[in-house]
């Protein structure tokens, strides 16, 4: 079983509520789920959708064909006419859309009227719709009814029971009406013995990774698609002992984070490209003062405001070279919510270990997409306190914040914990942290800050993931959020080609070429295709800059939308030369 459900409607109509509820119900009943969202930069109106893929097999991306279309506005049905599969069913409320559609594909359910009749209020129309979708799928209502009880637990029994009735009404009507439904009846009993799964989005796991990594201070200025990190951490701030500060602007945000980090706590900021542009000077400050900081950078299509609620992988090069002067940094680009959790936690470790900025480079697609997991392995989260605190700090015979060391890293003393003074400076400085002018000290500081750290940093970088045919003719390469869709594409290609996927989640510095042999794998492959969600092929260029390697082809998408399996496979097939 592998169904795609799309809920279309205007902002504010509740497509997110329906989508999230359905996703949760499926996950709880043990299905594999993948969801993604498409919405405009407005609060009410316009046209958005929420797409859910539900399957008995693991799923990692969205497909192009819609099996069940829930139409909350009049735009939905004509807009997606071509995307409906042959078996597709459209469920809608003709009184809301002020239009009736004929034919077996259309299921007209009076969401609002049923809500009023059964639930007591027309605002429960979305609950009716949710029940209806489950009905169409021939699924039972138990999980939804339980979820309703939880969701409305604070609103009291009356609301719970009204919503339950509304759900039931929708469900019954769908079962009743959708006799031609191709899905009906197929799911009975299928849930038996399946494990409950968690359903979680990238934006949540970045926040969770930050908490797990010991983040104590998060300063940011709201900006899509990063705001969710701030919201989630804020919701848990009291529980975990974290201060979340909304700064007056992004410049303040990163400087606050650096102040907090200097004071002795793990600190983070988050933003999108436009906000990050304002943080660039602060990034360079982190560089010269060797102050650890973690930055969650959520990409969206630029330049400038661009398409603020959509997706792109357009800031890789920007991040690689951002900042005046030369200093080390790490860029992680998680491919899945699970990776986002682990990489964010690890970002704190590495930022503190090497006293550098570490980025989590994500995008709207990863941020909003939900994946299902049986669990997330927290045993892999490590925490080493690299600071010198309290008595250990006092015990040092002397302390100079930027003392030269064999490996370039000087212990980070916590100011005030000892009589030793902690001094740092944005000017080039001596070991004690004071301004200098001479070339010799400058040279030694560049060696300490940059040359000594670089090789050690590169050793921390994980090799790319290799998936698919061990002796591939075609290697599909990608990075970051495209992991899921590339993996599914390679699976499909494997029917006809010796194909493999080479996927990078640790993109800067690149993993040492010899460490995992990825470069020779690329060289060996007959064809290498780099797939990126941008216009200029930024990773392709990065790999060439670092290694000289030249891909034989590429697929790029830059319309603000993510890749989907079917169209990507088609495009890849077009690129792969017949041999």
């Amino acid at each position: 079983m592998d169904y795609t459900i799309r809920i279309g409607g205007a902002a504010g109509q509740g497509i997110q509520t329906i989508g999230e509820t359905l996703g949760r119900v499926f996950a709880r009943t043990g299905y594999f789920v993948f969801t993604h969202q498409d919405y405009e930069s407005r609060v009410r109106g316009g046209h958005n959708y929420y797409q859910i893929r539900v399957s008995t097999q693991p799923v990692y991306a969205s497909r192009d064909g819609i099996d069940i279309l829930v139409a909350l506005d009049s735009e939905t049905i004509p807009r997606y006419e071509k995307e409906r599969t042959k078996r597709a069913q459209v469920v809608y409320d003709s009184s809301a859309l002020k239009k009736t559609y004929e034919g077996p594909a259309f299921v007209d359910i009076p969401f609002a009227r049923l809500a009023k009749e059964h639930g007591g209020s027309p605002i429960m129309a979305n609950t009716v719709a949710t029940g209806a979708v489950l009905g169409m799928l021939g699924m039972q209502l138990d999980a939804l009814l339980a979820l309703i009880a939880e969701t409305f637990s604070k609103k009291g029994d009356a609301v719970i029971s009204a919503n339950r009735k509304a759900a039931q009404a929708g469900h019954d009507r769908a079962v009743d009406q959708c006799v031609t439904c191709s899905f009906a009846g197929k799911q009975e009993g299928a849930t038996a013995g399946r494990k409950k799964r968690m359903l979680i989005a990238g934006i949540e796991t970045i926040a969770l990774g930050a908490i797990a990594g010991g983040c104590r201070f998060y300063a940011a200025y709201p900006m899509t698609p990063s705001t969710g990190v701030m919201n989630y951490i804020a919701s848990k701030a009291e529980q975990f002992g974290i201060v979340v500060e909304q700064a007056e602007d992004e410049i303040a945000a990163i400087n606050m984070a650096l102040g907090a980090s200097f004071a002795g706590v793990r600190a983070m900021t988050g933003t999108s490209g436009g906000g990050f542009a304002l943080m660039v000077e602060g990034l360079s400050l982190a560089g010269i003062t060797e102050t650890p900081v973690v930055i969650a950078m959520g990409q969206r299509p630029g330049p400038a405001t661009g398409l603020p609620t959509r997706t792109e992988q357009g800031e890789l090069q920007f991040l690689v070279s951002a900042g005046h002067g030369e200093f080390p940094r790490i860029i992680f680009a998680p491919g899945t919510p699970a990776q986002a959790l682990h990489q964010t936690a690890r970002a704190f470790e590495l930022a503190e270990k090497y006293q550098i900025p570490v980025f989590i480079l994500f995008d709207q697609y990863l941020a909003d997409s939900q994946w299902t997991y049986e669990d997330l392995d927290l045993s892999r989260v490590k925490y080493t306190d690299y600071r010198v605190r309290g008595r250990a700090f006092s015990a040092l015979a002397q302390y100079r914040r930027h003392a030269y060391t064999a490996n370039g890293v000087t212990p980070l003393g916590v100011p005030g914990d000892a009589k030793h003074l902690v001094v740092t400076d944005s000017d080039e400085h001596d070991e004690a942290g004071h301004i200098i002018e001479d070339g010799e000290t400058r040279n030694r500081m560049v060696e300490k800050r940059l040359f000594k750290k670089l090789p050690r940093i590169q050793k921390e970088i994980a090799p790319p993931l290799f998936y698919g045919d061990p002796r591939p003719d075609v290697v599909i390469t990608g990075w970051g959020s495209t992991y899921g869709v590339l993996r599914e594409a390679v699976d499909e290609l494997s029917a006809t080609h010796a194909a493999a996927l080479l996927h990078f989640t640790e993109v800067y510095p690149l993993p040492a070429a010899d460490a995992s042999g990825y470069l020779s794998a690329l060289h060996k492959a007959g064809q290498t295709i780099c797939v990126e969600n941008n216009a200029t092929g930024q990773f392709e260029r990065l790999l060439r800059a670092e290694t000289g390697f030249e891909f034989s082809g590429h697929v790029r998408r830059y319309d603000g939308r993510p890749f989907t399996v079917d169209s990507l496979v088609k495009e890849l097939k077009g690129k792969i030369k017949k041999t």
Binding site: I211, G241, E248, I251, G259, K382
Partner: protein
Amino acid sequence: MVTAKEYEGQVPAWCPGCGNFAILTTFREAMAELGIEPHQFTMVSGIGQASKFPHYIRCNTFNGLHGRTLPVATGLRLANHEMLVIAVAGDGDCYGEGGNHLAHTMRRNVNVKLFVHDNQIYGLTKGQASPTTGEGTKTKNMPAGVISEQLNPMALAVALDCSFAARGFAGDGEHLKGLIKEAVKHKGFTLVDILQPCVTFNKVNTYEWYGKRVYRLGPEHDPTDRSAAFTKALEWGDRIPLGVIYRRQRPIYEEQVPVLARSPLVRMPAAAPDIGPVLREFF
């Protein structure tokens, strides 16, 4: 007892006769009299002549970027609100490049002590107009003279309900020392704008010019009356009042952040918390 001598840091790179020297001496004395040891406070500064100040004081120091003194200081305080955090900036630094942070830090009322060395000029970059440069002043890049109206930091502070806003003068060390000590003791964000002659680039606002005009505010001025404080803040020209122009005691930010009631962040465990239970919420 800590003595003023113990605060002596690097050799100042200021011009001979610069007003900053007087502030430096006064500051060291004030700290000694307050009995605050070098490691017990952190100075944050930006870039400019004034911002070199912390190098000449022995203390914990974060000498950051031009204009970005206050966000760093805020981050520091939020991470460790048991640490005394002193911010030093130039007039260009704080009222020009960093103006937005000043406004919002006043609103926040973070318990940071800000001292602005106001020489009414950009010193380090060799004499451009700052926001407090007088109208008509000619500079290399403004040969026709400054057009923008001179910024009034005290009026700004009153408008933003700054918890403590005062004016000092490098040439009146006794009075300045008193202000510094009062500011440090005040609970809340404090702005002390210090008139600081720049002997090299500001040929108008000299020791003499200030000397003729400044006077110490007496008890007849009630700094807690906001409207009166605003009117007093507008006084500039023939007579320039020194002292606390405005004061309003209101809760500091750090005390209103619920999680900080427990302890400063920096005292909380440096360890990975167990997020297992919250992960359950995603099932």
